[in-house]
């Protein structure tokens, strides 16, 4: 999942007036050991907070730099939306704050059952889970079936169909109106069966944590879904411990787009059916909060408050060095990278790409984003605390790949020269006339990061034309459009959809998924049959062999020099003194069902 562009963008833009790159004061070293310990200590801190005795009650205010993309679980995709979904709804499976890698049954009643041929998945659904007013009836398996079917309609516009098109009869392109899917059956009100076209039950089950599996009552939602653009987004029927207040027709009176989201207890929620404690009585989320510095200070100095995402770097430094007990750093489960477009000269030469990777100062790029507090320097693709991370060499990376590992975090120009010479440039620098097009965001931190990348390339002899455009345009109008021939996207990121390495590597680097018109997310245009083949095989594996297979793919992509992963993000979550804040590592945001007032 791409972490919400909006979130980072607004945090960056609203904070840009006070964003001082130098203020982060990050040293150029980031030893593996310290990185490792920070990741494990954040996991320990999260576990401690989640298991601490807490009291019920109280109202908590969150100052959020962005807004939910959609409240409709069939349409939402960004983490902020998932944070709301996790507190107000119940997908089949979800993650407890204490473990971001092993989902637990939520709406489901136990583990999914898989047939011997791995092409049939059966999920039982708990009894006694009711929708909030005005629906007020028990959830059935048919509601999950409808939820998945509506996801494929253009009226709703589900955003990650790829994971679910493996269901028999699932539409390959959006339907007009909601159409039944033959591969989903409901033998009774508490059983749902998925028939798959491929033996990929393992990755399919992993995807059942996504909001697509949140039940939707057909009889209630149908009139909203019948509209060209479904209006269910403002009429969601909730099943979780919290709900957004609504009126008798279901219209969400507590959701004011761009302003605020109010959440109160769902009167029909039965704690006996849920692992969530739901301590707080209510939440008030002020979306698109103002100046990031002011918001952060209000949370730090105030009470009963949370901040939704990273504070500005100057405040981050204060937090880490002075305040200390009012923040938690959580690995975001993703990587930020500079793709190298393998179809654009001279990046079509693998040795040129390796030279760039060898000489690129990743620490400088990290400084541009805020310094050492905002993440660890990447040495490969799969991020810390993620399945396959250790198999990929952990923080050290692949020791047998000299041009990209923990030893050249700040760039190694001598090593870079070696690869330039291998590419035919005797001077050890690029000597050609090709001008590289780089596109970056016109607001910090994306702008600062793109400018660093430009300087790095120029240091190696390249001529670079940097185009700075609005954040969303970086992707939709440039990097995702192969015909624009963007040699290097001035900053891209990829974040987990669920805890499986396939979701981290396949969408970004599988050649067969390249979309040559628009909406392409393989920015490197990597089309290596060996990688594709390895991905197809790895998709069928389970357990440790699966992790090893995806770690091997991680290595293959580094060997293909398809891009420069430069940071494994951490999100620093800030809270008031009297708040026991519990992050959920799955979304790298607060878990509102576990957070409480001290």
């Amino acid at each position: 999942m791409t972490r919400s562009h909006l979130r980072f963008l607004l945090a960056g833009v609203l904070g840009m007036l006070a964003f001082v790159v130098a203020a982060c004061g990050g040293s150029s070293s980031s030893s593996s050991s310290s990185s490792g310990s920070s990741a494990s200590s954040s996991a320990a801190a999260t576990k401690k907070a989640a298991e601490a005795p807490a009291k019920k009650g109280g109202k908590i205010t969150m100052l959020a730099s962005s807004d939910v993309d959609y409240v409709d679980p069939g349409h939402t995709y960004y983490t902020f939306g998932e944070m709301i979904t996790l507190a107000t709804n119940r997908p089949l499976y979800s993650f407890k704050p204490t473990d971001a890698n092993k989902p637990v049954p939520d709406l489901a009643d136990g583990e999914a059952q898989v047939s011997a041929d791995k092409k049939t998945v059966t999920v039982k659904i708990k009894s006694g889970i009711k929708y909030a007013p005005p629906v007020n009836r028990e959830v059935t398996s048919k509601d999950v079936k409808y939820a998945i079917e509506r996801f494929f309609s253009s009226n709703v516009g589900g955003q990650y169909p790829g994971y679910f098109q493996v269901i028999e009869g699932a539409p390959k392109k959006p339907t007009t109106g909601v159409k039944p899917i033959s591969g989903i059956t409901t033998p009774d009100d508490h059983t749902i069966v998925f028939k798959l076209t491929e033996p990929t039950a393992v990755s399919f089950i992993a995807a059942l944590v996504m909001p697509i599996t949140v039940p939707v009552p057909e009889e209630y939602a149908k009139p909203f879904d019948a509209k060209a653009q479904s209006t269910y987004n403002t009429h969601v029927a909730f099943t979780g411990p919290y709900m957004i207040p609504n009126d008798s027709s279901g219209n969400l009176t507590g959701y004011k787009p761009g302003k605020s989201i109010t959440m109160v207890r769902n009167p029909n929620w039965d704690p006996k059916t849920d692992y969530r404690p739901a301590y707080a009585d209510s939440y008030f989320i002020r979306t698109n909060a103002s100046d990031a510095n002011v918001a952060a200070r209000q949370v730090i100095d105030g009470s009963n408050m949370l901040l939704d995402t990273n504070p500005p770097s100057n405040i981050l430094k204060d937090l880490v060095t002075k305040v200390k007990d009012q923040y938690t750093s959580v690995p975001s489960g993703g990587y930020r990278y500079f793709p190298l477009n393998t179809e654009v000269k001279p990046f079509d030469n693998i040795n040129v790409r390796k030279a760039v990777m060898a000489g690129f100062d990743r620490n400088a790029a990290r400084l541009a984003r805020g310094g050492k507090y905002i993440g660890d320097i990447a040495t490969h693709w799969l991020p810390p605390d993620f399945p396959g991370f250790q198999e990929s060499g952990g923080y050290k990376g692949f020791p047998d790949i000299d041009y990209f590992n923990a030893n050249n975090e700040s760039g190694d120009m001598a090593l870079s020269a070696k690869y330039f010479k291998a590419a035919g440039y005797a001077s050890g620098k690029y000597e050609g006339n090709n001008e590289l097009l780089m596109v970056g965001a016109n607001a910090d931190p994306g702008k600062a990061q793109a400018e660093v990348a430009k300087n790095q390339l120029e240091k190696m002899g390249f001529k670079v034309r940097l185009r700075l455009v609005p954040q969303d345009s970086v992707y939709t109008d440039w990097c995702q459009v192969p015909s624009k021939k963007v040699a290097m996207c001035g900053g891209a990121g990829w974040f987990k959809d669920f805890a499986d390495p396939q979701s981290m590597l396949e969408p970004v680097f599988k050649g067969s998924l390249i979309n040559r018109s628009s909406g392409n997310i393989n920015y490197s245009m990597l089309n290596d049959p060996k990688v594709d083949d390895a991905m197809n095989k790895a998709a069928l594996l389970e357990g440790e062999p699966r992790l090893k297979a995806w770690a091997a793919i991680d290595k293959m992509i580094i060997q293909d020099a398809a891009g420069i992963p430069f940071i494994w993000d951490k999100t620093t979550l800030v809270r008031s003194k009297n708040i026991n804040g519990v992050p959920n590592p799955y979304i790298a945001l607060w878990d509102l069902s576990f957070t409480s007032v001290k």
């Binding site: 999942m1 791409t2 909006l6 963008l9 607004l10 833009v13 609203l14 007036l17 006070a18 100052l63 807004d67 939910v68 993309d69 959609y70 349409h75 995709y77 253009s154 516009g157 955003q159 990650y160 169909p161 790829g162 392109k173 959006p174 007009t176 060209a228 653009q229 479904s230 209006t231 987004n233 403002t234 004011k256 787009p257 761009g258 302003k259 605020s260 002020r286 698109n288 909060a289 103002s290 100046d291 510095n293 002011v294 918001a295 200070r297 209000q298 100095d301 105030g302 609005p470 954040q471 969303d472 345009s473 939709t476 109008d477 969408p507 979309n515 018109s517 628009s518 909406g519 997310i521």
Partner: protein, 318 residues
């Protein structure tokens, strides 16, 4: 006078039509973000984008799109739905416009009264310590960026993160209920927004008044034995203030389109913030809506100023 007002009204409507056409051309014809792609979200299939394009009517001919756009705009004040969250743009605008109006009108009253008062004192006491102090202060306020001044005020005087906890802080406006409570939360935003404008108005009025006070009719008024106060206020200020009124109208009009910086630093949900957020997200429908609000506000305020001008100075009723 009635004919003059009718003529100006007609021009205003024509102006808005032209502006609507220009905004339509900018957003739909010139290369910009694709609304369908924006709504489709991340990694959309071409089929999904095509389907959404059809739903939004973007696959229709340009004249058909423009007619549809104009018809909805002028007959229903309908800007369609936000591309990012599918909310009616009209409701977004109506939800936020009162906040901006409240902020701007309050600030305008402060800056107009303060600016005029200071301008008169400075002109009357020309060359004195007071004149120099007031004009020096005005120069400082003009030079200080609104955003910076807002932050300084918050860090000094807000009751949550301030050193001297006096005024409600950032975001307090949204939590306030009732007229006086809302006014109290707006004291700092009003003062910050008014400061620079008051300084500009003071300097403008001072120079106009100094010029006016040298006119023959002022000498005549004094020769007739009128009290100096009456000479200044009735004869001098009335004439000197007309250019200030013009600027006031345009300033209010422009700020109705959003006092972005003030709204941002004090976390007030106004048109400026809405516009700013929409620009960041490439939400064209909302950008069009806020652009038209700004255009309409400027056009209407120009009309009001022209009418007011005609009352103040009969010579302009051409």
């Amino acid at each position: 006078m009635a004919a003059y007002i009718a003529r100006r009204l007609l021009w205003t409507i024509l102006l808005l039509l032209v502006i609507s056409a220009v905004t339509f051309l900018i957003f739909y014809v010139l290369p910009s973000g694709d609304p369908a792609t924006a709504r489709a979200g991340r990694d959309p299939s071409p089929a999904l984008v095509a389907s959404i394009r059809h739903q939004l009517g973007l696959d229709r001919s340009l004249p058909a799109q423009y007619w549809d756009y104009t018809r909805k705009l002028f007959f229903h004040f309908d800007f369609g739905h936000s591309f990012t969250n599918n909310t009616s743009v009209k409701s977004l605008i109506f939800d936020r416009l009162p906040n901006t109006v409240f902020l701007v009108v309050g600030a305008a009253i402060i800056w107009f009264l303060a600016g005029v008062g200071i301008g008169i004192v400075s002109a009357v006491k020309r060359g004195s310590f007071w004149d120099r102090a007031l004009m020096g202060g005005a120069l400082v306020l003009i030079s200080a960026p609104v955003y910076w001044m807002g932050l300084v005020c918050l860090y000094l005087f807000s009751n949550d993160i301030g050193r001297f906890k006096i005024f409600p802080g950032s975001g307090a406006y949204q939590d306030a209920h009732g007229f006086f409570s809302k006014c109290w939360t707006l004291v700092m935003p009003w003062l910050v927004l008014a400061a620079a404008f008051a300084a500009i108005y003071a300097r403008l009025l001072r120079s106009n008044l100094l010029e006016t006070m040298n006119e023959d009719y002022i000498r005549t008024a004094r020769a007739k034995g009128l009290p100096e106060r009456r000479v200044i206020l009735r004869h001098g200020v009335r004439s000197a203030i007309t250019p200030v009124i013009t600027v006031l109208g345009l300033d209010i009009g422009i700020l109705m389109g959003g006092a972005i910086l003030t709204e941002t630093v004090f976390n007030i949900d106004g048109i400026g913030r809405l516009s700013f957020d929409a620009i960041q997200r490439g939400d064209l429908a909302t950008i069009q809506g806020t652009t038209m609000v700004l255009a309409a506000a400027v056009a209407i305020m120009s009309l009001v100023v022209d009418i007011l001008y005609a009352f103040l100075d009969p010579r302009v009723r051409y």
